[in-house]
C-alpha cells in the first residue's frame, strides 16, 4: 500500500469531473466465516441470498421510517452531488450521495413499487443480481456515514441511513466487512475494539500514572473498576495507548484531579466506540451499549462521562437513552430505564461529554491554566462529523461547536478558524469514519481526506497553523496516517484535552 499518493489539490475548489468506475473493486476485505459467525451472522454468502436480501429489505422498510421515506422522496435534484468528500477525492460518480443511494433505490423500485415492477427501465429500477450485490458491498463501504449530504438535502435524506441499511442487509446474508465485524467480535469477547485485555489495561494505566508523575511530579490517578466513584468515564480504547489519543486521556485525568472528582474507568466497558452503528444493526448497537449500563449499575456511579470520540458521542448522546436508559425522562412504568436513571444525578446531563464537563468547570472558574504553555501551537479545530451533525453539547443547538472552541480559547492564545463552509455542520469528514479506518481502504481514506487537507493547507499558508485539534479517536488515527502523505507532520493532529493537559495547573486551587 506504500504506493498510495495524495491527489493534487484543486487550484479552486471546483466540482470535479466524473471518472466513472474509478473506485470500482476498491472496497474492503470481506469478513471470513469465523469473523461473521462470532457476531451471529451467516459465515459466508448464503445460497438463497437474493430472496433473503429482498426479505430483509422489506423488513427494514417496515422498521425504519427514515429508510422508507428516503427511498421514496428523492427527486434527483442534484443538491448533494458535490457534497461528499469521497466523491470530491475519487471523482467516481457512484460516490455522489444520490448515486450511492440509487444503488439501493433502484432495487427498491424494482421490488417494492408499481412503476418499477411495470416499467423498470423508465424509472431506473433493476433486479438484484450478483453484480448489484457486489456493487453494494463496494460502494456502501466507501461511505463514512458522516451525514454531510443530509445537511443539504431539501428532504433531509441521510445517506448514512441507507448505507447502514445496506450493510445490515449484506451482513444478514453473510457478506459482511472484515474490519467492522472483527472489531465487534473483539468488543464482545474482550471488552474493547482494540482487543486490550483487562490485565494489559491495568498495566497501561499504572504506567501512565508513573509517566505523569515523572513529568509533573504530581500523583494523577487513572482508577479502574472503583465501586462508588462519582463519575464513570467511557472513552475510546485508542485513548489507552495510541498517539496522540493518550495525551487527551492524560488531560481528562488532570481535569478530574484538579476538580477533586472521584472517577473510574471500567474494564467491562473499556470502549466508548460502538461499531454496531456503522453496520446499521440495532441488536448489535444495543448489545454493545448495554455494557455501559451494566458497568454503571455495578459500580454505582452517579455520572457517566464520555471521552473524545465522534461516533461514540453520537451513540451516547442520541441513542444511549433509547438503547440502555442512560439519560433522563423515562416513563414511570419504564422499569428498565428507571432502574438506572434513579441512580444517576440529574443535576447533570446524562451522559455528559468530557468537553461539557471541562467547560462547566472553566465557567465556574474551578480550573487554572497557563495559556502560554500552548504558545508554540497555532491551533485550528476540525469539527468531527458525528459530533457536528449527530449530537449536541450544552443547552443550546450548536453547543457542540462552541464548547470545544471555548475550551481551546481558554487554554491557548492562538486559535484560528478554517474556511467557513468546511466547519461546524458543514464540516468535512476526516475520510476514515464509519467503519473504513482500515488499511485495505487506504486509497479511499487518502482521497477522501482531500477536501479537509486543502482547507488545512490554506490555513497553514495563511495563518501558520501547526496544530489541528479534534475530539474524535477516528479523526486522530486517520489524520496521523494521512497527514504525512499530504506532506504535513503527523503530530499536527491532537485532542482538545491534549491542549488542556499542556496548560492546566494542578495543585493551584
Amino acid at each position: 500500500m506504500a504506493d498510495i499518493t495524495a491527489p493534487a489539490y484543486r487550484e479552486f475548489p471546483i466540482i470535479p469531473v466524473l471518472k466513472p468506475g474509478s473506485m470500482e473493486g476498491k472496497g474492503p476485505f470481506v469478513a471470513s466465516d469465523k469473523i461473521n459467525e462470532a457476531v451471529g451472522f451467516p459465515g459466508h454468502l448464503v445460497d438463497d441470498w437474493h430472496d433473503k436480501a429482498i426479505a430483509k429489505m422489506g423488513e427494514l422498510l417496515s422498521k425504519y421510517r427514515s429508510f422508507k421515506v428516503f427511498m421514496d422522496a428523492c427527486v434527483h435534484c442534484g443538491a448533494c452531488t458535490d457534497k461528499c468528500h469521497y466523491f470530491i477525492g475519487t471523482q467516481d460518480p457512484k460516490n455522489m450521495p444520490v448515486a450511492r443511494q440509487d444503488l439501493m433505490r433502484s432495487v427498491y423500485r424494482r421490488y417494492f413499487t408499481l412503476p418499477g415492477k411495470l416499467f423498470p427501465k423508465l424509472v431506473g429500477a433493476r433486479d438484484l443480481t450478483r453484480e448489484v450485490l457486489d456493487e453494494w458491498f463496494n460502494y456502501y463501504h466507501q461511505c463514512s456515514e458522516c451525514r454531510r449530504c443530509s445537511v443539504f438535502c431539501p428532504y433531509g435524506i441521510d445517506t448514512a441511513e441507507i448505507t447502514m441499511a445496506a450493510r445490515e442487509i449484506l451482513d444478514s446474508i453473510g457478506y459482511g466487512q472484515k474490519y467492522s465485524n472483527e472489531i465487534i467480535g473483539k468488543v464482545h469477547k474482550i471488552g474493547n475494539n482494540l482487543g486490550l485485555p483487562g490485565p494489559a489495561l491495568l498495566d497501561t494505566l499504572e504506567g501512565l500514572e508513573e509517566d505523569v508523575k515523572d513529568a509533573i511530579g504530581i500523583d494523577v490517578r487513572f482508577p479502574i473498576d472503583v465501586k462508588g466513584a462519582e463519575v464513570l468515564l467511557i472513552t475510546p480504547s485508542a485513548d489507552f495507548f495510541a498517539e496522540p489519543h493518550i495525551d487527551s486521556l492524560i488531560g481528562y485525568a488532570k481535569v478530574f484531579h484538579a476538580s477533586g472528582t472521584s472517577w473510574t474507568l471500567s474494564s467491562m466497558a473499556s470502549e466508548a466506540g460502538n461499531f454496531g452503528m456503522f453496520i446499521g444493526n440495532y441488536e448489535q448497537l444495543r448489545k454493545i451499549a448495554l455494557r455501559i449500563r451494566e458497568a454503571a449499575l455495578e459500580l454505582g456511579v452517579k455520572r457517566i462521562v464520555v471521552g473524545e470520540c465522534g461516533h461514540a458521542w453520537r451513540v451516547a448522546y442520541s441513542f444511549w437513552n433509547t438503547l440502555s436508559g442512560v439519560g433522563d425522562g423515562a416513563g414511570e412504568v419504564d422499569r428498565f430505564a428507571q432502574m438506572l436513571q434513579k441512580q444517576l444525578d440529574h443535576r447533570y446531563k446524562q451522559p455528559t461529554h468530557i468537553c461539557e464537563f471541562t467547560w462547566d468547570l472553566i465557567e465556574r472558574n474551578a480550573l487554572t491554566f497557563d495559556k502560554s504553555l500552548n504558545d508554540k501551537h497555532i491551533i485550528t479545530f476540525h469539527d468531527s462529523c458525528n459530533v457536528a451533525r449527530g449530537s449536541r453539547m450544552g443547552d443550546l443547538p450548536g453547543g457542540q461547536f462552541e464548547i470545544p472552541r471555548n475550551i481551546i480559547k481558554a487554554v491557548a492564545n492562538n486559535f484560528v478558524e478554517m474556511a467557513p463552509n468546511t466547519t461546524r455542520e458543514q464540516t468535512f469528514c476526516c475520510g476514515g469514519g464509519g467503519g473504513v479506518l482500515t488499511d485495505d481502504l487506504l486509497e479511499l481514506r487518502v482521497k477522501g481526506a482531500l477536501p479537509r487537507m486543502e482547507v488545512l493547507k490554506q490555513s497553514v499558508d495563511e495563518h501558520g497553523v501547526n496544530f489541528m485539534a479534534t475530539i474524535c479517536a477516528i479523526c486522530k488515527a486517520q489524520f496521523t496516517k494521512v497527514l504525512p502523505i499530504y506532506g504535513f507532520d503527523r503530530k499536527m493532529v491532537g485532542g482538545v484535552h491534549q491542549l488542556v493537559s499542556n496548560a492546566i495547573q494542578l495543585g493551584q486551587k
Binding site: L18, D72, A79, L122, V123, F319, P397
Partner: protein, 243 residues
Amino acid sequence: MASIVFAILFYFATLLLVVGLIYRINTYARTPAPLKIPTTPAPTTTGGVVLRLTREVVFFESLFKANLWIWSTGWLFHASMALVALRHLRYFTDPVWGWVAFIQPFGMYAGITMLLGLCGLWWRRLFVERIRYISTPSDHLMLLLLIGIAASGLLMTFVVHTDVIAVKGYFLGLMHLDIQVLPADLLLSVHLFLVVSLLVAFPFSKLLHAPGVFFSPTRNQKDDPREKRHLSAWAAKLESEKN
C-alpha cells in the same frame, strides 16, 4: 364524447390520488422511527421543529445552502406553481372567493415564471454532467409533463383563448356529479390530459417528496434524546424479552 371521457378520467385520477396519498401517508406515519436522528444543530422544542419544517417547505432552506442554481430554479417553479394552482380555484368555486379573484393577474404571469423555472431545471438535467448522470428517463418525462401543462395553459391564457365559462361550468358540474359539455378544444384537451397524468403519477412517483418532507426524521425530530427516553414499539420488545 370528450366530456364523458374526461369525466371518467378525472373521477378515476382523483380517487387514485386521494386513496394513494392516504395510503402512503398512513404508511409513513405508522412506520416507526426507532432512533433519534435529527440532523443537528436541530431545534429542541416542538415549536422549533414547526419553524424548521416551515422554512424548509416555504423557502427550501437546505437547498439554498446547497446550490443557488438549483434553489433559484426550483423555488421559482414551485412558488409559481402554487400561485397558478390557487388561481385555478376560480374554476371550482362559484361565486369566486375574493382572494382568488385578487390573485388572478399574479397567477397568470406566474405561469410564465413556472415555465422558466422548469426550463432551468431541465437545462441543468441535460447539460450539467453530474446531474445528467443521476437522471432517469422518468426524471426527464416528469419535467416534460409539467412543461407541457404550463405551456398549454399559457397558450390558452395568452394566445388561443378557450371558452373558460364553459370550462368552469364543466368542472362545477363534475363536482356535483352532473356532467356538462366540455368545449371541444385541442389545447384544452391536451392540458387536461396532462393534468390527469400528473394526478395519477403522484402517489407512485418521486412526487411523493411533497408528503415525504414532513415525515423525514432528520428534519421533524426534536433534539432532546438526553431529556426524554425515545423508544419504538419493536425496540421495547427487545427489553421485555431479555430483562
